[in-house]
Amino acid sequence: MDFTFTEDQLLFQDSVRDFLVNEVTPQRIRALWDTDSGRDDALWQQLAALGLTGLTVSEEFGGLGMNELDFVLLAQEAGYVALPEPLVQTAMVAVPLLSSIGGDLAAEWLPKVAAGEARVVVGLAQNRLVEDAHVAGLILLQRGGDLIAVTPDQVSLRHNDSVDPSRRLFMVDASKATAVAEGDRAALLVGAALNRGALACAAQALGLAQRMIDMSVQYTSERQQFGKPVGSFQAVKHHMANVAVRLEYAKAPTHRAAYAIANRQAIASQAVSHAKLVACEAANLAAKNSHQVHGAMGYTWEVDLHLFMKKAWALANSWGDAGFHKSRIGERIFADGADLGAGATFS
């Protein structure tokens, strides 16, 4: 039994954090709001050069051949900067799905993803709208009981504005397409993709919560009222303590879920639902309490808090909302013969 990450995994996290914090600043995010695509090809190239777009692509196709457990800490860092690029969805959802589909499709697209030449996105019925379909070279879509793969020339897109100006969401109409998976196989692939998408949300939510805590600690240490930093008042600091506890305790379930997926454990669905619930709750509580301790300033467009708050809000309702994930956990607990007792630490 070992509930720790390796030295290499932690070092990789550190270097990715350094890169992202330097490159993906709130100023850069705001500048992208005013562009047509809202995406930054130069940044995508940099991410590819760091090996991040191909991190979960097998070595055969030019990637690093790593898994969800290797990526989960990096996804947290992507959340920490509210990265607008679809990196996490690519590495955690699109690439594993393409790899599972296999064949010519995987052989054609995985090398392009690893090289940063193409973005591949996934649209499941659960989400209705597809993120970043406008910049995708390939879209994998759930349609009825099938899974289809379409290229931009085969679809029409309708943009839906999001309350988070960084998110670009599209209704995708695919005129004609051939299924890449059908029936039980498609259901299996869709289920796995949904789990990965939810895990991706959970991991990013951890980063978002951390960012909002950091901003709030800094702000309340500087802002003075009654001759003291407002952060010295218990009524203020207890708000942040509550967030810190939720965040710290959302990490283990998230890492446990990544482990379950990477090791193809039967418990993966429940582990993911647990992670998604608690991580998104932590991020939403971070947003709520951070707004409170920022006072009136947090309500302004100028202060960056809302960048992170809106992303957390959106993630909580994507890839299965709280109701969906709660009911998946409930089903397990109330299943006949569920093994939950004192002996079941990891089941």
């Binding site: 039994m1 070992d2 509930f3 720790t4 990450f5 932690l10 996290q13 457990l69 800490l73 947290q76 951390q210 805590i213 600690v217 309340t220 240490s221 003291k228 930093p229 952060g231 010295s232 008042f233 218990q234 600091k237 207890h238 942040m240 303590a241 509550n242 810190a244 506890v245 965040l247 710290e248 305790y249 959302a250 990490k251 283990a252 379930p253 890492h255 446990r256 482990y259 647990h274 619930l277 608690v278 709660k326 956990i329 409930g330 607990i333 109330f334 939950l340 007792g341 004192a342 002996g343 630490t345 990891f346």
Partner: protein, 399 residues
């Protein structure tokens, strides 16, 4: 990361399970699922016998080094031991303060002589301990200790005078570790000593505190020149706070596992009650049960994470210890509330006169203590914010 146990560890699991199956029988049957937190007043004599049987089987202090009478079990094996102990429904341990707190403290800070004198009795399950920290004027302000220790040259002993309060199981204990002021002119955490004191002596009076449950497991303990041998101070006079804080670290280590397993058994009881009376069909109750389950799972995962030694190294709070108390206490309090809501209107009906509570009723009442003792939720939040997050400190009067 490897979230499973090795075949070797699974064999150890069988060994533990088999031993418990063979021994938790006969007179001990009645002890199953008894004597945990909030139920410690039940079957004290029978549980003392059980403690010795456990010791004879080599199942006390399993994580201690061999040289001190332990079994030197790995973390994995300790996890498994606690899992199987709880799964068998084996009773709350009368020796848990000695095994979980006193022993590790003596091993870490004590003299060779203290180790020889006190560890064997803990391992054998024959000497029980209680802890003397809180005082009437030292609750949240724990360092405001007024109990004094004066070294009497003539008798060659420390003489301790003052009062401790909220002392769990003082009436069942043979020894107490006591924080007392060795330097009468000192304030706060300076000038304290950490003493190992025999309970059965004329200078000590134990008075039970009747709790809202109608039972008594907490006590007031009065010291009137109670004697303590010169060599029974742990560390030097003035080191008491350091030793006491070290002890708190042990409280938050492996010993949390046993607590979590006991929580698991309580949770299972609540689920059982909900299934039996149909409350499990109520969607609101279902969601609350699901939440309680996920939060308990979080505590268990985090214990594993902490024991694997990496809590906080991935950008989080540096010390798991800072947040655990607040989390488990709040969880346990909610579990008590959930239990009552599962029972519905019948939750107020006593099992029997004159004031006999059902297990779940007693849980509901006892959990009111959880968010207070060992540092209130409010104190915990201060610590988390100031030490964990680095927020500005509050001005304090005495420090």
């Amino acid at each position: 990361m490897k979230l499973s146990f090795s075949p070797e560890d699974e064999r150890f699991r069988e060994e533990v399970a088999d031993w418990l199956k063979d021994n938790l029988t006969g007179d001990f049957e009645q002890l199953k699922y008894r004597g945990g937190p909030g139920d410690e007043h039940m079957y004290p004599e029978e549980r003392k016998v059980w403690e010795r049987v456990l010791a004879a089987g080599g199942w006390t202090c399993v994580g201690w080094p061999m040289e001190y009478g332990g079994r030197a079990c790995s973390i994995e094996q300790q996890v498994i031991f606690f899992e199987e102990y709880a799964r068998a429904g084996a009773p709350g341990r009368v020796g848990h303060i000695g095994e979980g707190l006193t022993g590790p403290t003596i091993i870490a800070f004590g003299s060779e002589e203290q180790k020889k004198k006190y560890l064997p009795g803990i391992v054998a399950g024959t000497e029980l301990w209680c802890q003397g920290y809180s005082e009437p004027g030292a609750g949240s302000d724990l360092a405001n200790v007024k109990t004094k220790a004066r070294f009497d040259e003539a008798r060659g002993k420390w003489l301790i005078s003052g009062q401790k309060v909220w002392t769990s199981l003082a009436h069942e204990s043979d020894f107490c570790f006591v924080i007392a002021r060795t330097d009468p002119d000192s304030v706060a955490h300076k000038g304290l000593g950490f003493f190992l004191v025999k309970m059965h002596q004329p200078g000590i009076l134990v008075r039970p505190i009747e709790q809202i449950t109608g039972t008594s497991e907490f006590n007031e303990v009065f010291f009137d020149e109670a004697e303590c041998d010169a060599e029974d101070i742990v560390g030097a006079p003035g080191d008491g706070w350091k030793v006491a804080m070290g002890l708190l670290g042990f409280e938050r280590g492996v010993s949390t596992l046993g607590q979590q397993m006991a929580f698991q058994n309580e949770f299972d009881q609540v689920v059982l009650a909900a299934r039996e009376n149909g409350a499990a069909q109520d969607p609101v109750i279902r969601q609350r049960i699901a939440r309680a389950h996920t939060e308990l799972k979080i505590m268990r995962y985090n214990a594993m994470r902490m024991l694997s030694g990496q809590s906080g190294s991935d950008g989080g709070l540096q010390k798991e210890a800072l947040i655990y108390k607040l989390y488990w206490a709040s969880w346990h309090r909610s579990l008590g509330e959930l239990a009552m809501d599962v029972l519905g209107p019948e939750c107020e009906i006593l099992s029997d006169g004159p004031y006999e509570l059902s297990r779940l009723q007693s849980l509901y009442l006892f959990v009111r203590a959880d968010t207070i003792y060992g540092g209130t939720n409010q104190i915990q939040r201060n610590i988390i914010a100031e030490r964990g997050l680095g927020m500005p400190k509050e001005p304090r009067g005495t420090l």
